[in-house]
């Protein structure tokens, strides 16, 4: 089984006018042609959705955050200075909204209790022997919750770098631009994220 994401679009979308760059579209919108905004939404909605999903692991919440990202981008379009790519700016909005969402969720007592209850009900499905043949591995719900919880425990920076890399297949250069860091710093964040996840997830496995 291929572990690469299936990137083919299954829904139809309007043909993106390849002659207009993102900046051209933004300028057109700022001049009053707000229908052009649809082109930007259709171009970036799936990427932004995947990024948000990496934070919240809930499809409805991810859709809401994606919607909020584009609305916020539209309302603040006059503040876009054309110094970075529009997509970089858009990702920063979605990352901030997602992190704020997670902070609010942590403050909510019921959400905290729910995640504690879910964590404590982990069954030991994670037998290492089952994983020798990847094609035969079926991911149980408890396995997903384990991984999601451990991703959430990463620091905000490690989590952001990890999600952009794994959920949206961003290169280190693209991640560095979005997070306003050097590529070396991004590499370090990714390495630490992988090491931390490795350490924490391995305790769920029985050793041979």
């Amino acid at each position: 089984m291929s572990l690469r994401h299936n990137r083919t679009q299954k829904q139809d979308f309007h043909e993106y006018d390849g002659q207009m760059s993102d900046n051209d579209i933004v300028r057109a919108i700022l001049k009053g042609n707000k229908d052009e905004f649809r082109k930007l939404i259709e171009k970036y909605q799936q990427s932004i959705f995947r990024t948000c999903l990496g934070y919240v692991h809930h499809i409805d919440d991810a859709n809401d955050l994606t919607q909020e990202t584009f609305i916020s981008a539209y309302q603040n379009l006059h503040k876009f200075r054309f110094e970075s790519n529009f997509s970089t700016w858009l990702y920063r909005i979605s990352i901030n909204l997602s992190l704020n969402f997670l902070r609010r969720k942590r403050l909510n007592l019921f959400d905290r209790l729910e995640s504690i209850i879910e964590s404590s009900s982990f069954k030991s499905n994670l037998e290492p022997g089952n994983y020798l043949n990847p094609e035969e591995v079926i991911i149980e719900k408890e396995d997903r919750i384990i991984v999601w919880n451990e991703i959430e425990k990463l620091s905000d920076k490690q989590k952001t770098a990890f999600i952009l890399s794994k959920y949206d297949n961003k290169s280190q250069k693209e991640i560095a631009e979005i997070m306003n860091l050097t590529e070396g710093a991004v590499e370090s964040l990714l390495q630490r994220a992988r090491t931390n996840l490795q350490k924490r997830l391995s305790k769920y496995f029985k050793k041979k």
């Binding site: 690469r4 939404i41 799936q46 499809i59 919607q67 539209y74 994983y131 959920y167 391995s202």
Partner: protein, 145 residues
């Protein structure tokens, strides 16, 4: 194969991009080495969970919903008058007026208090008393005796 080589090649092993003989060596090592097996299993689990999640699709009507929401927000901002300018002028004016009013009230209260304390009006009980006609205590004591 040793653990170091195995762990270096785990990523390629997961994606099946190693040459066949290397794949077999990796598999043999993973069957024998518990530590490498745990590392491999956690990586595989993480990759699978993420791949499953990342294959989800966003709402196909999202663009329509966003544009509808933007239009609704714009309509709301046009309907309500822009009080921001008035607010910017009125707020400091209200603050200054409140402080001035507090000062005036304070002065008035202060004035009332001091009038009461230093009043020249003599209470009724004392009106009849005249210093000159008050008999000395000595005289009273002498008469009673």
């Amino acid at each position: 194969m040793n653990c170091s080589v195995c762990q270096e090649n785990l990523k390629d092993y997961l994606t099946g991009s190693l040459p066949e003989d290397m794949q077999i060596q990796m598999l043999d090592h993973l069957r024998e080495c518990g530590e490498c097996h745990v590392i491999y299993s956690t990586q595989l689990l993480t990759e699978k969970v993420i791949a499953t999640e990342a294959s989800e699709w966003s709402d196909s009507f999202l663009a329509t919903r966003v544009l509808a929401e933007i239009e609704a927000l714009e309509k709301r901002s046009h309907v309500s008058p822009d009080f921001s300018v008035l607010k910017r002028i009125l707020q400091p004016a209200i603050v200054v007026t409140s402080i001035a009013a507090a000062i005036v009230v304070g002065i008035l209260i202060g004035n009332l208090y001091s009038k009461t304390l230093h009043s020249n009006v003599v209470p009724e009980e004392l009106v009849l008393l005249d210093d000159n006609s008050i008999e000395s205590l000595n005289l009273i004591i002498t008469e009673n005796n």
